[in-house]
């Protein structure tokens, strides 16, 4: 039986990770290692300034007081004694991780860390709802199908998958590219009871650059979006000519 590591950024007690673990349990031996607490927008953070604790919550379920990236490392190095899992799945996140926003995402970073360590990985996110109630059913089914596919076919080296699922029953699955958006961050200014100012980062009113094949368009049109990602951020199209009068070698 393949070993399947399950993590997330919403925390070990979130409904999404339970649905995801249940969905992949028929496919292999499941190990759940997730943050104690919600750590959304934590990005690809590694905890180096303080030590980490590992707590067991069930026969195959553990929590780490750190980030999804910490969880993947603790799972591999401590619980699996250095052996890589056959698959890492991260999610199901309550809220899409689309376009440039994936660079903030703890859910996606869990999968990225697995890819850097050399394990096939999938991040799964579900559209946010207004009242924060979620039906994980359709997204869990998608996660199961994609996980089975990856276990059967593997993934190209260092490639991992970012899967986003619309609300309700998806119309189908689309292979997509990471979308772009114009970022505008809104900051709310408030006063504390002592008259001192503090600031909340809000989610801005952003404009998406439309692109037929983008993850955003697929989800908006009711399709599951699967974007193959990899860790190389080099702007390969920016050639030496642009910097030619600066480079000296």
């Amino acid at each position: 039986m393949p070993t399947i590591l399950v993590t997330n950024d919403d925390g070990v007690h979130a409904g999404g990770i339970k649905a995801l673990a249940d969905a992949v349990r028929p496919l292999g031996d499941v190990l759940v290692v997730a943050p104690h607490q919600e750590s959304s927008a934590i990005g690809h953070a590694l905890t180096l300034r303080r030590p980490l604790r590992l707590e067991q919550f069930g026969p195959d379920t553990y929590a780490v007081d750190g980030t999804p990236t910490d969880c993947v490392n603790i799972a591999v190095a401590v619980l699996l004694k250095g052996r890589l899992p056959d698959l890492v799945v991260s999610g199901i996140n309550t809220g899409w991780n689309l376009g440039d926003d994936i660079t903030y995402s703890g859910t996606v970073s869990g999968a990225l860390e697995a890819a850097l360590l050399g394990a096939p990985a999938i991040a799964v996110s579900l559209m946010r709802t207004r009242d924060w109630t979620f039906d994980f059913g359709p997204s869990a089914k998608v996660a199961q199908d994609v996980a089975a596919h990856v276990l059967r076919k593997g993934l190209p080296e260092r490639v991992f998958l970012n899967v986003n699922v619309p609300r309700g029953l998806p119309k189908g699955i689309r292979l997509t590219v990471q979308g772009k958006r114009n970022h505008v961050t809104t900051i709310a200014e408030r006063q504390d009871p002592r008259g001192q100012t503090y600031y909340w980062i809000e989610e801005g009113q952003d404009h998406w650059h439309e692109h037929d094949r983008s993850d955003f368009v697929a989800c908006r049109e009711g399709y599951v979006s699967i974007t193959p990602l990899q860790p190389d951020m080099t702007a390969h199209a920016t050639g030496p000519a642009w910097l030619s009068d600066l480079a000296t070698d």
Copy 2:
């Protein structure tokens, strides 16, 4: 005069940010907004679960109790009242940010956030020394030259620069690509005074995939490495064929 925003992940009181601010001061109006505390390996984290405080430390120097990503957003939205700076420089980090490790880097994430907001940006990192003493002189000169170049020529849309400087006097400047490494995370297990186990994430013994044009090779050979980066992580080479029996649209 152009407006130049200076940030880092080593904190507002670090020697590297002072050297960087001094280096770019002849080029424009400098605004320093950096984390209160060191926040290395914080990745591209955005603080959404608690509010942020902004504290002034000098005529053009401010600290935020958050991440480099938070700093860039607070600087633009609050201090610059929504106006984008003409350039954002992040650093000088004490320790290289090379290859896949840039995905963990707070220094690089400060520049990434600026690029997402639409401002030209440069991250600058200097080789770590054994005794943690640093001569920022040569790297500050490099930062000044690259900053002047970007202010003069601009940068392609969404492209930002990752600059790494070797110790001592660089032999020259090379344009590079993001290197790959085999990640192996080492975890040290210890017992607290109450006999409970805790774990430290250590820097692993990693092997670099050699690549003549990689950032790692350039730095190792004594050259300044400049890698043009962009936020798209799509694995464009992974075509639809690979997932064809899964996709339905």
